[in-house]
């Protein structure tokens, strides 16, 4: 069997969902930092989002499983902490999907610009933290719905 091209592999990885936010892929999230063949071994470099995020090990396992299912025999997951992950690496596609899913995408201003549901700009922060390390809790004061905001780091 000929080796899959790295372009092909990136495409496969773009089908691997984030375990906590399944609408976006690990590629959208910007945590896959490199895909390289080392002879017969495929090395995938992954960077953690938050250093204590419990999803990190699940993500590594999901990536490995997806690639094994595609017929790649030997996969090595390399954890790479530098340069540190930043929400700037979230893809445009990922940002749009987050908003559709009801999670306001990160902004350098430090808060969401509109309610992901009714698009109102009348917002208030409930908590700087949320259900996962990457999110904070906000509320729309027009439609009154609380929503998650993807923290900008």
């Amino acid at each position: 069997m000929t080796q899959a091209t790295t372009d092909q592999i990136w495409e496969w990885l773009d089908a691997v969902s984030d375990p906590e936010i399944p609408v976006i892929s690990v590629v959208d999230l910007g945590i896959v930092r490199g895909v390289d063949w080392d002879k017969e071994t495929l090395e995938v470099s992954v960077t953690p989002t938050y250093s204590g995020c419990p999803a990190t090990s699940i993500i590594a396992l999901d990536i490995e499983t997806a690639l094994l299912n595609r017929g790649i025999k030997d996969v090595r997951i390399k954890t790479q902490i530098s340069p540190a992950w930043t929400t700037d690496w979230l893809s445009e596609k990922g940002r749009a999907k987050l908003e559709d899913y009801g999670i306001a995408p990160p902004r350098a201003a430090g808060g969401p610009d509109r309610c992901p549901r009714c698009k109102s700009q009348a917002l208030e922060r409930i908590s700087q933290f949320g259900s996962t390390p990457c999110k904070a809790q906000w509320r729309c004061t027009d439609c009154l719905e609380p929503f998650d905001y993807f923290k900008c780091i």
Binding site: Y50, A84, F129
Partner: protein, 256 residues
């Protein structure tokens, strides 16, 4: 300095970094499920999670430097009190929510400054871990600073409690800036920052917050010591380790 001594100083230094985050991370996690409001519960649990994540990096590197075939888990769960190198401040009990937040603020302000400096460390691995951690810790400081001000400049009761927390914890703040042989060795080799400079920068963060929070900084500069050197921890650490280490000690090598 001969190589062995330098490695030992580096090992001690990494233990200090990792034990601070481990002990504070565990302390903060004790609030999980019992914090005064759901939002605070989540905030504290997330803060603890960041700190535990950072511990894995610091103690993981410490174990490699030590070269005795131990890993981060073994360092965390199989050392006893006298081998811990955390600051006395972070092992202090949670007390009420005000004391927990005050302890967090005093440490966060130090931690941010220390990590900013360490992200320029001559040791590449330390610089990488610090650059990763500081992004999380800046966020912790933003929250603890705001909360100290909100509670200090809140009701008569909340102000009284925040002042009591500051008075109680103040004698433990000075140890962050005590310079010993390990700090000097790290500074001389470009690994660690000058703690005297850090003290000035810390004052520049902390004092305006105390003022905004209507709190009076205690006059005394007396500082309890013995945490980071390991010479003498407070009685609280042993009790905390008894809880934290129970499972891996009762069931050695148990796997998830």
């Amino acid at each position: 300095m001969i190589p062995d001594q330098k490695d030992d100083a580096l090992f001690q230094y990494l233990l200090r970094l990792g034990d601070n985050t481990l002990v504070l991370g565990h302390r903060v996690s004790e609030w999980c499920g019992v914090a005064p409001a759901l939002e605070e519960d989540i905030a504290l649990a997330n803060t603890a999670l960041d700190l535990i994540g950072q511990t894995q990096m610091w103690l993981g590197f410490a174990a490699e430097v030590e070269g005795k075939d131990r890993n981060a888990d073994e360092l965390a769960f199989r050392r006893d009190v006298w081998d811990f190198r955390n600051l006395l401040l972070v092992e202090q009990t949670n007390g009420d929510f005000g004391k927990t937040i005050m302890r967090q603020f005093l440490f966060d302000a130090f931690n941010v400054l220390n990590l900013r400096a360490l992200s320029k460390s001559s040791d590449k691995r330390i610089a990488e871990i610090a650059a990763k951690s500081v992004k999380e810790v800046e966020y912790h400081l933003e929250r603890s600073r705001e909360t100290v001000i909100a509670l200090g400049d809140g009701t008569e009761e909340s102000n009284k409690r925040m002042q009591a927390a500051l008075d109680r914890l103040w004698p433990f703040a000075g140890e962050m800036f005590v310079i010993d042989d390990v700090d000097t060795a790290m500074f001389d080799s470009g690994i660690g920052p000058d703690l005297a400079v850090l003290r000035k920068d810390w004052d520049a963060i902390a004092i305006p917050v105390f003022n905004a929070a209507m709190l009076t900084k205690p006059d005394s500069d007396f500082a309890h010591q013995g945490g980071k050197s390991g010479n003498r921890h407070t009685e609280h650490l042993g009790h905390m380790l008894a809880t934290m280490q129970f499972l891996p000690r009762a069931y050695p090598n148990a796997r998830w």
